[in-house]
Symmetry: C2
Subunit: 221 residues, 2 copies
Amino acid sequence: MEPLPLTDRTRVTRLAQRQVTDRAALHALLDEALVAHVAVVRDGGPVVLPLGCARDGDALLLHGSTGGGLLREAAAGAPLAVSVTLLDGLVVARSLFDSSMNYRSALVLGRAEVLRGEEQERALLVLSEHLLPGRWSEVRPASPRERAATLVLRVPLAEASVKVRAAGASAADDDGEDRAAWAGVVPLALRAGTPAPNPEVPASVPVPPSVRGLLARHGSG
Amino acid sequence: MEPLPLTDRTRVTRLAQRQVTDRAALHALLDEALVAHVAVVRDGGPVVLPLGCARDGDALLLHGSTGGGLLREAAAGAPLAVSVTLLDGLVVARSLFDSSMNYRSALVLGRAEVLRGEEQERALLVLSEHLLPGRWSEVRPASPRERAATLVLRVPLAEASVKVRAAGASAADDDGEDRAAWAGVVPLALRAGTPAPNPEVPASVPVPPSVRGLLARHGSG
């Protein structure tokens, strides 16, 4: 895969050693994220909202209702900035200054294309299989009315940067810390808890394979 | 507390029934979040990055290095949009269209004030006690050099909106779903895993009370 190009807008200026230009790292990060924060300019000022996301090849898919204001602006071709962040750990150093977080974070800049027809249907499959693998084949297909009410956007991963901190607690040589004191990382991850069925579901109905799979991969205990 | 005022910029247009104007709900959401996504306008286009955050009274604190470009723009008085999102669950409905996520999400609009001197020190205490309660008193105080390298911003919660979905899977009466099939919510939460000490920490050094407290509150096992 081509490395991520460094442009004036994607070159990391602060802690540049944390910049990763490996496109596979961008893909892996996006493949773990459920939510992207999407920013647009409205009336000269910024607006930012969370949207469900998934990666499809070398593009990011976003979706939501056709009634959503920010999504409509994105669909009309507004320049977008999309941040996708995974928080991987609290870095507990021996000073507050050296304390930090481990994370993987992507910034994608560009404009979105609205997907229609078969492209939309395929993108909905990709989004569904990303958010809850296996669910697609457990439920009925989307109706034409439902698809008409759903806006699916594709943002190419052409201008994107990735910043990663994945390390233990740093400790400068000269800052008077007690090296015998504890320092390290507390890993953080989004975990799934016990599924709560809707009240009308008969007690005899089992949790479906899609949910069991999610619990096997991301269950908390 | 005063309810959150509805302005043209904070009135939710899509699924307005999910808008919450209770200021206590905004505070509670911010009190659980570790990361905010902060957007600014740069050269006419949007940029958005994650920053560590904490609530202090009726304001949001953001902090980072004085070397960070976006933070410097925010410190210079650029209009900001800040999104803070907690993902609370996957909503598994009997159709893909009714599938959703449970979440709490805040949008804060405004400009930041740079905190200095005693205000900065107090804000660093609030940020530290939010990110890892108890750690402040386990480590040495920040040095003047360290504080000079740290930018701490305060954004008032004057113009803010909160949107919440906290419900089971919806099911319209007429959309041909099998009501005997499973539907419900899989709760999601950020959980802490087993702490990983730095390699130089002697095996006899215990995990500090701050980390033990975090594990007691948010541990995954």
